[in-house]
Symmetry: C2
Subunit: 332 residues, 2 copies
Amino acid sequence: MSNIRDVAREAGVSVATVSRALSDPDKVSQTSLNKVHSAIDKVGYRPNMLARSFRSAKSYAVVVLVPDITNPFFSQVIRSIEDRAQQKGYAVLLGDTRGVPEREKEYIRRVETRLADGVIQLRPDDPNRRFEMPADIACVNVCGCESTSGPRVRIDNRGSARSVVDYLISLGHRRIGVISGLKDNPHTVDRLAGYLESLEAAGIEFDKSLVAEGDFTTWSGLNSAKQFCAMPDKPTAIFCMNDEMAIGAIQTLKQHGIRVPEDISVTGFDDISYARYCDPSLTTVTQPAEEMGKLAMDMLLRLIEGEDLAQEENVLPAEFVIRKSTAIPRKD
Amino acid sequence: MSNIRDVAREAGVSVATVSRALSDPDKVSQTSLNKVHSAIDKVGYRPNMLARSFRSAKSYAVVVLVPDITNPFFSQVIRSIEDRAQQKGYAVLLGDTRGVPEREKEYIRRVETRLADGVIQLRPDDPNRRFEMPADIACVNVCGCESTSGPRVRIDNRGSARSVVDYLISLGHRRIGVISGLKDNPHTVDRLAGYLESLEAAGIEFDKSLVAEGDFTTWSGLNSAKQFCAMPDKPTAIFCMNDEMAIGAIQTLKQHGIRVPEDISVTGFDDISYARYCDPSLTTVTQPAEEMGKLAMDMLLRLIEGEDLAQEENVLPAEFVIRKSTAIPRKD
DNA sequence: TTGTATGCGTTATCAG
DNA sequence: CTGATAACGCATACAA
C-alpha cells in the first residue's frame, strides 16, 4: 500500500509534482512525467481515491433507489443508469428499498453523509410525499407520473393508457376490464385517467365493477383476473396496468378455459422482455427504459454540478405495440 | 455543512469528546453526551463518512460484478446481496460488466483504489482466468461451477442437470436434445457432464447432433430450437440449460405446430419467476438465489475481516421441480 | 516548471 | 472522563 510520498521519493520529485503528473500532466515537464511514471510502476502505486474524494469533498457516487430490482423494467432502467454513470466516472450505489421508508432514509442518509453525491429515484411517488427528502439533496425522479415534482423524466402514462384503450374500442370492445395497481399509486391514477378519457370519448359509461385492484405483481394479476372469470357478464377485454399482471391474468384465463385473445383480449404496459415471448405475445406499451435511465443520470449530473433544474420535466415518447393478445371481441 | 468542530464549539467540549460520543458513547459522561446531542441537533451536524472512511481506510462498500443485471436470476441474487450488505452497514456498488473485460477491470480498480473493500462476482468463469484478479483483493464467486477457484458459493450443476435428464429418461424419453450455453462456459461444461452421466447410466448412446449451442438468451433458445424442428428424427424432449432459452424454445416449437409437452417435453434451469407463469409452466431446477447471495456476502465480509477462506466452497442444494412442460413421449 | 506548506474531517494516542 | 494534537493521503495556493 504505497502512497504518493513513496512515489515522490522514488522519482526524486515532490509530492506536488506527482499529484500534478496524475491529475494535470500538462503542467509537468516530460522528464518529471517519465520519472513519476516509472516510479509508479516500480512501487506499484494506486492512488487512494478515498483520500481524493475526501479532499475534493465529492464521492463520485450516486445512489439509485428502486422498490424492487427484480422487476425487469426497473432493472433495464438501472442498467442504463449504470452504463452512463460508468462513462462519467461515477459509481452506482444500489438501493433496493422494497418500499420500506426506513431503508429509503438509510440511503438518503448516505448522501447526507457525503458517501454519495445525489439520488435517482425509480418510483412513481412524489419524492416529497412519503418521507422528507431534504431539499438540498440532488435528486431526480425517473418513471414518475404527472403529480411528481422536482427534476424528473417519465412517459405520458395517461396518453399511453388512452392509446391502448382507444385501440381496444376501435376493435369493437365496449366492456373493458381494468387490472390496476394500488389505488393511491400515482401510476394507477394516471393510467386510469387515460382509461376514463378513452371511455368518455367513445361514449361508454364507466362501470366500477370492471376495475380490479392489483399491485403490479404477477401474483396479483393472477388473482384479480379470477374476479372477472366469475362474472356472468364478463368483459371482452382487460387492460392491465403492467405486463406482469397481464401475464398473471392470462394464466388465470387459460385455467378457466378462456382463450386469449379469441374470448378475451388482454393488454399490458412496460414491454418487459417476456412480453414478447409469452403466449400469446402481449399487446403493450413500450417504455424507453434505456433512454430514461441515461437522461435521468445526465440530469442528476447537471444537478450535482450546481445547475438549477428546479422543475425540469422530460416526457419521453412511449410506443404502443400491437401483438397477439388482442383481437376483435367474440360475437355471442 | 457543519463539522465536528462546530459541534464541539457549540457543546463547549473538545472534538475528541464529540467523536467519542458518536462512536463509543460509553466512554463519555451523561452530561457531555447531552450537550453533544443537543449541539448536533442545533447545528444540523451530519458526520462526514467520507472523512471517516478515509481515516479508517475502509470504504464499507463492496462491488458486485454481474454480466447482466436484467437477467432475473442474477437480479434475485443481487437483491439478496444488497439486503445483507445493508444489514451489515455496507453499500453495494453495482458493476454491470456486460461481459466486457475492460469494464470488469474498471471495477476491480475501484477496490484497488480503496473505493470498495471487496468484490462479489456473479459469473461462472474462474475469476483468475479471463483477466488478472490481483491476489490481494477480497473476492468471492457466486453462481460459479466446479472449476471455479477461490472462495465460492454455487449449486451442484452437474448433479442438478443429471436429476433433470434422469427424470426425462424415467418418463421414457430416449432422444433428448440439449440447448446449451456457449461451449466454453463452465456452466455449460458442468451441466453437459450431468447430461452425459445420465445418458450413460441409462445406456443411451450420445448423439452429437442433439446438442444445439445457445448463449443463455431467450433469443438463442428461439433459434436453437429451429434446428430441432428441422430434423426428420426429432428429439422427444429438450433439456435447456436455462429458463430463458427454454421459453424461447417453446415459442419456436409452438410456431411449428409442435405441442409442449404432448409432442416434445422441455425443461429449463434456474427457476426464474416467469418459469411458473409461462405456458406450459416449466419443469426446471430451482437455484436458492436468496441463500446464495446472503452466503456470498457473509463470506466476503469474513474475507474483508482478514479471515482466510482460501478455497472455502459452499455447494447449496438445488431443487428439481416438476411442472407442466414435461410428459411421457408421444408414441408414433 | 517545481517545491513547501497547509488543510480537508475524522479518529486515535497520549497526557492530564 | 476529557482535551490537545498528530496522523491519514491527497490537492492546491503560494513562493521560488
